[in-house]
């Protein structure tokens, strides 16, 4: 944050340094291995008394000079220039720590130049002994250059104890110094062979050509075994966290890891082939092909090494955005705009939000990301997110996304940056709250004087979510709605009617009328819908079920209930795509593809390929889902634990009600699925379920020793008010917040926190529970969870309270305000349903 940032657009994100560095590293290793190649080949020529070999050596020296000294030397300077432009603070830190290492390397660079020029210009002009001495001096200087630079490079990867003592020698002879030195020495020898092919295949004499090409093949193949051994040593020398970063955590590293692993035998085989096959038509292209493979080979290694540093430039010392680890708390407290030097918009105002966001992106993101380039492009990432989603994501970097530095700014800066990275970078992505068009639903008529029955009904939960799998190709939906109904014969002592009665339902769906008859149990009528009803058009986040009870063939009661089913599932906030239902709901295939791509990347699955073939991916087919009755595959987390556990690491904001990023109860959304009395009282999801981290922890702890759960839990340690160790595990959908935690003995609550006390089993769930008389379901009088009476639905005030309005002309729970007459034909004096049932409803407007 000390220096200005060069705006590179598409050439950012490491593209520039990758282009220059990989080429230079290839050539510079050639400069080392090739030096030994020259002198050893000359010795071979002298030993065999072969003018042809000596002639080849001389010509190869000229090639070597032009490639290593001119191109290698200049690209080495170019790397220095480039790192100083891309990370001036990092370069300055390196220069000030290792100035004398670099100065020493310069001395040996000078030695290389002098010895190589003399070796080339005095070929065949001085005695062989003296000429060989020059060659050995060249190789010695080149290798010592490698020795010195190796110390600096690996210091960045594993500074080790330097972090504590700041001692030059500790940093130089760091934990990976020796394995890296051996590794680079062996790869330099291999590269000498690869460059040797380029000249040997052009020797005019066929026998000499064959001989020298085979000779180069030995240079390629012989060091490979030692190279791989030193690679294993190198890996072992890395601290475990960095091994994990390279080999596990960073999905981007897989391609380079695979490249390195697979190219090793390919290069070896290539060496055999080019050594064995004589035709020039094979050898020449093969030489070039192997040369390019060698470039890729060392490129893979360098990308992995760089990856092992993430998210630092100097591991555990300076982050990749040039913020010192020690300074991070200050940045997070004061803000980047206040702390960085090269800032124009020091204060965020309504007029400069985008400009301030742009500056934050420049300072925090562009050191590693490009805009529109081939590496680390921000644009595809930005397209995936909404501002809210991106803001949540920013909270996860450094933890769930450990290859990125923690977000260094304040909360306000996170909001502004998220706005810029989405609406600022992506034209047309300007979010706005949808306009809610009211839906008219009139309560059914009810004559308290003449009606003999009442019918109370509702869904088991008030807000189902659907991922519209037929359209999206991804089924992450809740289990289909479960309808419950109780038919009550009105009397002085009302009775529950279950025999000789039928209850049927009709639901207008997007694919026509869904009709059925409910099955009678010993306590209620029930209908488990076979599938999630098709969404209605225009967008409507609920269905109205019409229910009708018949006794002895005669219709005795009718009623309606809302079944809250929303397609406004917030995956698109972070996984790309837009809603396809008038911009309000409906998952698209783009979003589904984004989710599956993430899943494949993180979990080594191949779901995207299945998806691409047109198969609908059903999450609950692998992950157990109690809401759908699936058991999942052994060893995998339950769907609830996986979804919440995984996302809690990314959506780490502990202050906002982040549940609404995924669930359909966002204040600015289209569904407003959470519309019951608790909503009116300004309670949020976290009052009952805990904040996301706590909620996820409870689910993950239920998974026991599952390694994935353990890892995910590690991101969530003590993020909430309740310590992780104190959070009780729970089975999703079965062990839920217990209403009686707050409403002790059905009394007005003395707390607003129900988190961490769960229903013991399914019997205690709200929709299964009855009053103290053991007859009437809680939900029959109070409505559905999340839509408890008096629910105020955004689409119409009647919709959330159809039955109270039908039976008692007010929206309060059935029989509120001593309204016993709904069922009882005379006034009641005993609170037989539950204590307080005869009280006046407390929470009026």
């Amino acid at each position: 944050m000390n220096y200005p940032v060069w705006l590179l657009d598409m050439f950012g994100g490491g593209t520039l340094i990758a282009l220059i560095a990989v080429i230079h590293v290839y050539v510079s290793h050639f400069a080392v291995g090739g030096g030994l190649f020259l002198v050893v080949t000359e010795m071979k020529g002298l030993r065999e008394n072969s003018p042809a070999i000596l002639d080849y050596t001389k010509k190869h020296t000229r090639f070597f000079l032009l490639v290593s000294m001119v191109f290698g030397g200049l690209t080495g300077v170019a790397i220095w220039f480039t790192i100083a432009l891309l990370s001036p603070a990092g370069t300055s830190s390196l220069i000030h720590t290792f100035v004398f290492a670099w100065a020493t390397e310069w001395v040996f660079f000078l030695g290389e130049i002098v010895s190589l020029l003399l070796y080339y210009y005095y070929f065949n002009k001085i005695s062989s002994r003296n000429h060989l001495i020059l060659g050995w001096i060249y190789f010695g200087c080149a290798w010592v250059s490698l020795f010195v630079i190796n110390g600096v490079i690996d210091y960045m990867l594993t500074p080790g104890e330097w972090l504590n003592d700041n001692n030059f020698w500790t940093g130089f002879f760091n934990p990976t110094f020796w394995p890296a030195l051996f590794f680079r020495t062996f790869i330099a020898l291999m590269i000498a062979g690869l460059f040797g092919f380029l000249t040997s295949v052009n020797i005019k004499d066929p026998e000499m050509r064959h001989k020298m090409t085979r000779y180069c093949g030995i240079w390629l193949m012989a060091p490979l075994v030692f190279l791989l051994a030193s690679a294993v040593w190198y890996k072992a020398a890395l601290p475990p966290a960095q091994q994990e970063m390279i080999f596990t955590t960073s999905p981007e590293m897989k391609i380079f890891l695979s490249g390195f692993i697979y190219l090793s035998p390919v290069l070896f085989a290539g060496g055999l082939i080019i050594a064995a096959l004589r035709p020039q038509a094979v050898r020449r292209p093969m030489a070039l092909f192997l040369f390019l493979l060698g470039l890729m080979y060392i490129g893979c290694f360098e990308f992995m090494r760089e990856g092992g540093r993430r998210p630092y430039i100097i591991h555990e010392y300076m982050y990749s955005n040039s913020i010192l680890k020690a300074d991070l708390p200050e940045y997070q407290e004061k803000g980047v705009l206040q702390t960085a030097k090269w800032v124009k918009n020091r204060k965020i105002t309504p007029d400069n939000r985008l400009a301030a966001g742009s500056e934050l992106a420049t300072l925090l993101c562009l050191p590693c990301h490009s805009t529109g380039g081939p590496l680390n492009d921000m644009l595809p990432i930005a397209r995936r997110f909404t501002p809210e989603g991106f803001e949540a994501f920013l909270g996860s970097i450094g933890t769930a996304n450990p290859y990125m530095p923690p977000f260094a700014g304040t909360k306000e800066e996170a909001v502004v940056l998220a706005e810029y990275l989405t609406t600022g970078l992506i034209p047309g992505l300007i979010p706005h709250a949808p306009v809610i068009t009211p839906v008219t639903v009139a309560p059914k008529p009810f004559d308290p004087e003449s009606s003999e029955y009442i019918l109370l009904a509702g869904a088991a939960i008030g807000n189902y979510l659907s991922s519209t799998p037929e359209e999206s190709g991804l089924d992450i939906s809740f289990g289909a709605p479960l309808l419950r109904a109780q038919l009550i014969f009105r009397d002085v002592s009302p009775s529950l009617i279950l025999e000789d009665a039928t209850v049927s339902y009709k639901i207008q769906t997007g694919k026509g009328m869904l009709e059925g008859t409910m099955e009678a149990t010993d306590a209620y009528f029930e209908a488990q819908l076979a599938e999630m009803p098709a969404p209605l058009t225009p967008f409507q986040p609920f269905f109205i079920a019409e229910l009708q009870a018949e006794v002895e063939g005669k219709i005795v009661a009718v009623t309606q209930t809302k079944i809250g089913v929303s397609t406004e599932i917030g995956c698109r906030n972070c996984h790309g795509g837009r809603y396809n239902k008038e911009g309000r709901g409906g998952m698209t295939r783009v979003t589904a593809a984004g989710i599956l791509a993430s899943h494949d990347k993180r979990s080594n699955t191949n779901l995207s390929a299945e998806f691409a073939k047109g198969k609908t991916v059903v999450c609950s087919s692998c992950h157990a889902d109690s809401s759908r009755g699936t058991e999942g595959k052994p060893g995998l987390l339950s769907l609830s634990a996986a979804i919440h556990g995984y996302h809690a690491g990314f959506i780490s904001d502990t202050e906002r009600d982040v549940c609404v990023l995924c669930h359909s109860s966002n204040e600015n959304g289209a569904s407003h699925s959470f519309d019951g009395i608790h909503k009116q009282l300004d309670l949020t999801c976290s009052n009952c379920h805990g904040i996301l981290a706590e909620h996820a922890t409870s689910l993950l702890k239920q998974e026991g020793e599952n390694g994935q759960a353990t890892k995910l839990l590690s991101y969530l340690q003590d993020k909430g008010e309740v310590a992780t160790a104190e959070i009780n595990p729970r089975i999703p959908w079965i062990m839920e917040p217990d209403c009686l935690t707050c409403h002790v003995e059905f009394q007005p609550p003395e707390t607003d926190t129900a988190f961490n006390t769960w229903t013991e089993d399914g019997e205690e769930l709200f929709h299964n529970r009855t009053g103290e008389a053991g007859v009437v379901l809680c939900s029959s009088c109070h409505g559905q969870p999340h839509s408890l009476y008096p629910a105020k639905n955004a689409y119409g005030k009647e919709i959330g309270a159809l039955q109270p309005l039908q039976y008692q002309k007010n929206p309060f729970p059935i029989a509120a305000d001593k309204g016993c007459a709904v069922c009882h034909t005379e006034d009641m004096e005993d609170e037989m349903h539950h204590p307080g049932s005869l009280a006046t409803f407390r929470n009026r407007d």
Binding site: N2, Y3, P4, V5, W6, L7, L8, D9, L66, V70, F71, G73, L74, T75, V77, A78, F81, T82, A84, L85, P88, A89, T91, S92, S93, I95, H96, T97, F98, V99, F100, A103, T104, W106, V107, F108, F109, L110, G111, I113, V114, S115, L117, L118, Y122, K125, I126, S127, N130, I133, L134, I137, C141, N166, N167, F168, W169, K341, W342, K344
Partner: protein, 354 residues
């Protein structure tokens, strides 16, 4: 905007700043000499080819150009390193502001370098392309010189830095600094002078070995040297007039040294010119080297005086660690011995001498 707030905080030194200042001065002087020979000879060769004067001088220069590039680059590394230690917070900043040009240096030099090799290795086969090729080499090196002059002046022109907020794409140049062009011209003319003198020196060596035709070429070299040096007195005066007040006022800390070395550099340049006009090569070389070294010191003091309102190298924090420097000095001495050993190995080789 207060430009001073943009100046980055410097890092900690391992040894007191004076060590780095000495190393910077010495290695920059080495670089300056070789670089001037390269640039000057490139321009001279091009102009000679362009005017149809393709003589032995051109061929002699052609044979040495690649070597000169190699040593110019190598000798440039060390002072750049030590400059970054002392003034990195200024130089990294100016480099970012003009990043595109700054980074293009390596590509331009690579092309010039390969151009030099093509010119050398194919001298007799590409006669028709000598002008174009040497024009390309000289043009490339002039471009590099312009970029370097820009950066080295931009790093001290702190008031111009806020231009970044209107252009962060690395395409700024230090055009707001009125001294940019005279400074550049002063450097280029100096290079031509050194290039001319190096030609004279080369032929003076040949003359001493008995080459009877060398005298004419000494004259050629000396004419370039004398002409360029005389012009440079005028340009130098122009450059002086446009230096910042903090430098010209001669009131700042170190102004006495600045003035002393400026006078010394000017006097030695005049003496060098006098000997040059008389074709006395060696005295001219000695005085010119003296003048160059003095001017290197003038340049250092001018930078210190320019930056004085914001920065002093003496204020840099030091957390001592001497052993790395000792290791470097030992390797430096060893490297010099090794070079001496190699040259001796070649020059005393019986086959060379036979």
């Amino acid at each position: 905007m207060n430009a001073a707030q943009l100046i980055p905080t410097p890092d900690v030194l391992q040894v007191p700043w004076g060590w780095f200042q000495v190393l910077l001065t010495v290695t920059f002087f080495m670089h300056l000499v070789v670089m001037n020979i390269l640039l000057g000879c490139s321009i001279i060769t091009f102009l000679r080819h362009a005017s149809g004067k393709s003589t032995d001088v051109n061929k002699a220069i052609a044979g040495k150009l690649p070597l000169t590039v190699a040593f110019t680059v190598n000798f440039g590394v060390a002072p750049l390193l030590f400059l970054q230690v002392l003034y990195g917070n200024f130089m990294y900043t100016s480099s970012v502001l003009m990043a595109i040009y700054w980074l293009s240096i390596f590509a331009i030099v690579i092309f010039a370098y390969y151009g030099a090799y093509i010119y050398t290795m194919n001298y007799d086969r590409i006669v028709d392309y000598h002008t174009v090729l040497t024009g390309f080499i000289a043009g490339s090196l002039l471009a590099v010189a312009f970029i370097l002059t820009n950066n080295l002046s931009f790093m001290t022109n702190v008031e111009a830095w806020p231009a970044y907020f209107n252009n962060a794409e690395g395409t700024l140049l230090n055009f707001t600094d009125r001294s940019l062009f005279p400074r550049y011209l002063h450097s280029v003319l100096g290079a031509i002078a050194v290039g001319g003198l190096s030609i004279a020196f080369y032929y003076d060596l040949k003359k001493r070995k008995g080459d009877t035709e060398a005298e004419a070429n000494i004259k050629i070299g000396m004419n370039w040297f004398a002409g360029a040096t005389m012009l440079n007195f005028g340009v130098g005066t122009w450059y002086w007039g446009l230096l910042p007040d903090s430098v010209r006022s001669l009131t700042g800390n170190g102004s006495a040294f600045f003035l002393f070395f400026l006078v010394l550099g000017t006097v030695t340049a005049i003496l060098s010119l006098i000997y040059g006009l008389r074709h006395k090569v060696r005295p001219a070389v000695y005085y010119l080297l003296g003048s160059l070294f003095s001017m290197v010191l003038v340049r250092e003091f001018a930078r210190r005086l320019t930056l004085a309102p914001w920065f002093k190298t003496s204020d840099l924090e030091v957390v001592p660690q001497y052993s790395p420097m000792i290791a470097f000095l030992v390797s430096f001495a060893g490297g010099l011995w090794l070079i001496w050993y190699m040259i001796r190995l070649v020059l005393t080789d019986k086959e060379v001498n036979s």
